[in-house]
């Protein structure tokens, strides 16, 4: 019974090496390259999508539905996507109170800017209340 399992799981080994390589590439892009910030960010995002693809196709069960009696776990993938959206959109929402690393202005200006934002949001809230 165990015989046919005794082989090196090449797909997993390749997937593992690839995901390490992509991580190193992203680290290099951020720390070692001379690319502009825009290129670094978009480059890392592309690498992230490839990385997610590797995880789904080489480790997870997206391609295994034929061999097993199961099916593609769309349900779980949907929930994962919803959670990722909550984390990203939620963080942006919560952090949207005007905090910046303002190198040009002094502390006073930054403080004022925050005050203004707070005022705006306050008005908005009141408006919806009526």
């Amino acid at each position: 019974m165990a015989e046919h399992n005794k082989r090196i799981p090449m797909q997993h080994v390749v997937g593992f090496v690839l995901s390490i390589a992509l991580t190193l590439l992203a680290t290099w892009a951020a720390l070692g390259s001379n690319l502009s910030t825009t290129w670094i960010i978009s480059g890392i995002m592309i690498l992230a999508v490839i990385q997610a693809g590797i995880q789904l196709f080489m480790f997870m069960h997206v391609v295994e539905f034929k061999s097993q009696n199961g099916h593609v776990p769309w349900n779980m993938m949907f929930h994962g996507a919803v959670l990722a959206a909550i984390i990203v959109a939620g963080s942006l929402f919560v952090m949207s109170f005007g905090f910046t690393h303002d190198h040009d202005g002094d502390d006073h200006q930054q403080h004022e800017q925050q005050e203004d934002d707070g005022q705006e949001q306050h008005d908005e809230g009141e408006h919806e209340g009526h």
């Binding site: 019974m1 165990a2 399992n5 005794k6 799981p9 929930h79 994962g80 959670l83 909550i86 984390i87 939620g90 963080s91 929402f93 919560v94 952090m95 949207s96 109170f97 905090f99 690393h101 925050q114 934002d117 707070g118 949001q121 306050h122 908005e124 809230g125």
Partner: protein, 645 residues
């Protein structure tokens, strides 16, 4: 590094701690050697993959951690009893409230509940073990080594002192230099591996390994709450893993994710922490709800009232738990609109929770209550938790929260939900399932003494803290002003009442081990409703000789009516079981060494430990052990002796 920098020096209490650690370790080594128990320890416990034994080890470790966290609490209550006490200095007090919070949540509450899940859930669904027994052992050892790493911090290197929430920039490298904070990061990271693995394990176990015929809506409610909790774990713990990793990069490798100076964003830590932290609250309360439901249904001798409503309420709470995290930091200043959104989502959670309260009351209504110790813990939970819940809604109002925030009102609130919820459930569940685990009941008379001391102590300790908070006493202060003294004295007296309750509980365990009558049947309380009571006591290592076909809720009630058991001689087949293995223990020991290296930033040690850990993983990848089969003769012999046939 000098030796006096490595060990914590200058505190008499810590010297006493070192001496007691040395004495206890020496005593354990001596006893194991003198009674020649090393082989027994290795064969029966360190290498086991049996879910029942792993569960017992989880519970024992959690009780030890409850003792440690409780000792921290008593030291804090002593310091706060009178103004200008000199029992603890500010630094030591900070370290103690930090470790108290972290130990109680991460190393007491969760492992205790996971321990009960381990023992009970496979039995409740008619499974012979969890889906991945090897992974289960790995989970336990990762938790234990993580807990040990965190706990040695108070004698080696110094404890973390930035609160269990570990907010940046205070917890960052600039303001908390030294190994203390690294112990927090690596201890949680190491034990987090195990928690995540446990979540996956129970998800698969419950979805795939139920007895034939058992539909989802026929599962016992504790199994349901475990399933939902597993989902929350799988979705929430990666957030903590990432947050801890980012802060480790900040502290050890000089990254700037949460710093102010290097374009980082300190508030992002609070955001990420509570994105995990709020679901974490439900990870420790939902299984507790499950335990109360089982205990109440059993001792009210009725089917759980509104089973389906209960299940949907759990699912709804789980979903909402990911949408409320900002209520932990309303005062950060995210603005009125953001706070309003999260204020409303917070209040929504009160709705399904209220549904559950009515489910329990409905179950109790017009029932014949059997007033056992387990039932008393569950009954005490309902009113106590409601007080915690109502004050929670008060805190959930964003504008009012600006008054309550970081005051003792908050401290009282979360102790009311965590102790009356989780800790009462741990005691209730432990007393309830104790005969299944150890073959004898806990003494009821002593149990009631322990119950009354603990519950009265609890209310005396924490109820005055609501008023201390309203009088303006902030949390995390190491000394009080005279105006707060009366309330604080009452509170400290209550804390020691809880300590006495716990001491009586420990005595009950020892007393019952010596004097309690041994169990003769599997159905210890005579009113068992679910499948775990259908197994004989002690439970054979394969759990079920034959797995019955299930076609209703409360499977064991039906089996009893039909006169069936889990031992049908005609249907016996050889049982496939997993082999014991020492690999999980060794792998996690190596990762412990690696984590210790990171804590002190000794990279040679970290890398060596990590390589050894990876080697263990490679060995595991090429391990083709398929387990073994229990032969029919052995099953017959075991069943006949345990069932007294």
């Amino acid at each position: 590094m000098q030796l006096d920098e490595f060990f914590v020096t200058g505190e008499p209490l810590i010297y006493a701690g070192m001496v007691s650690i040395a004495l206890v370790s020496a005593a354990i080594l001596f006893i194991l050697t003198y009674f020649k128990k090393w082989g027994w320890l290795w064969r029966e416990w360190l290498t086991t993959v049996d879910h029942k034994k792993i569960g017992v080890m989880y519970i024992l470790s959690a009780l030890a951690m409850l003792f440690r966290g409780g000792a921290d609490a008593l030291m804090m209550r002593t310091q706060l009893a009178f103004p200008n006490m000199n029992f603890l200095n500010a630094q030591h007090y900070d370290e103690i409230f930090t470790t108290h919070g972290t130990v109680m949540i991460i190393f007491m509450a969760m492992p205790f509940l996971i321990g009960l899940m381990n023992v009970v859930v496979p039995l409740q669904i008619g499974a012979r073990d969890v889906a991945f027994p090897y992974l289960n052992a790995l989970s336990f050892w990762s938790f234990l080594f993580g807990a040990m790493l965190f706990n040695i911090s108070f004698v080696i290197g110094g404890s973390p002192d930035a609160g269990w929430t570990s907010y940046t920039p205070l917890a960052g490298a600039a303001m908390s230099p030294g190994p203390g904070q690294n112990f927090y990061l690596m201890g949680l990271q190491l034990s987090g591996i195990g928690t995540l693995a446990t979540g996956i394990n129970f998800m698969v176990t419950i979805l795939k390994m139920r007895a034939p015929g058992m539909k989802m809506f026929q599962m016992p409610i504790f199994t349901w709450s475990t399933l939902i909790t597993s989902f929350i774990i799988v979705f929430a713990f990666p957030i903590l893993t990432v947050a801890l990793a980012l802060m480790t990069l900040d502290r050890v490798f000089g990254a700037q994710f949460f710093t102010l100076t290097g374009e980082g964003m300190p508030m992002m830590w609070a955001n990420l922490f509570w994105m995990w932290g709020h679901p974490e609250v439900y990870i420790v309360i939902l299984p507790a709800f499950g335990i109360f439901s089982e205990v109440i249904a059993t001792f009210a001798r009725k089917q759980l009232f509104g089973y389906k409503a209960m299940v949907w309420a759990i699912i709804l709470i789980a979903g909402l738990s990911f949408l409320v995290w900002v209520h932990h930091f309303f005062t950060m200043g995210a603005g009125a609109f953001v706070n309003s959104v999260f204020s409303i989502s917070t209040m929504l959670i009160a709705v399904p929770t209220g549904v559950k309260i009515f489910n329990w009351l409905g179950t109790l209504y017009k029932s014949r209550i059997n007033n056992t110790v387990a039932m008393m813990w569950s009954l005490a939970f309902i009113p106590s938790f409601v007080i915690g819940g109502v004050t929670g809604v008060m805190l959930g109002m964003a504008s009012a929260d600006y008054q309550f925030h970081n005051s003792y009102f908050l401290v009282a609130h979360f102790h009311y939900v965590l102790i009356a919820g989780t800790v009462f459930a741990c005691f209730s569940g432990l007393v309830f399932w104790y005969p299944k685990m150890f073959g004898h009941k806990l003494n009821e008379r002593l149990g009631k003494w322990s119950f009354w001391f603990f519950v009265i102590g609890f209310h005396v300790c924490f109820f005055p803290q609501y008023f201390a908070g309203l009088d303006g006493m902030p949390r995390r202060v190491f000394t009080i002003i005279p105006e707060w003294m009366p309330l604080n004295i009452i509170s400290s007296v209550g804390a020691f009442g809880m300590g006495i309750g716990f001491a009586i509980f420990v005595f009950t365990v020892v007393y019952s081990y010596r004097y309690s009558e041994r169990e003769k049947t599997g159905d210890s309380w005579d009113d068992g409703r679910t499948l775990e009571w259908a197994t004989p006591t002690p439970v054979p290592f394969y759990n079920f000789a034959t797995v019955p076909h299930i076609n209703s809720m409360d499977a064991y009630v039906k089996l009893k009516e039909e006169g069936k058991t889990t031992f049908d001689e005609d249907k016996l087949e050889p049982i496939h079981m997993p082999s014991n293995t020492g690999q999980p223990f060794i792998m996690m020991a190596f990762l412990f060494v690696a984590s210790f290296g990171v804590v002190f930033e000794w990279m040679w040690m970290a890398i060596a430990g990590l390589i050894a850990g990876v080697v263990m993983m490679v060995i595991r990848s090429f391990d083709y052990d398929e387990g073994f089969h229990v032969e029919i003769d052995e099953i017959k012999r075991t069943e006949r002796s345990t069932r007294g046939l």
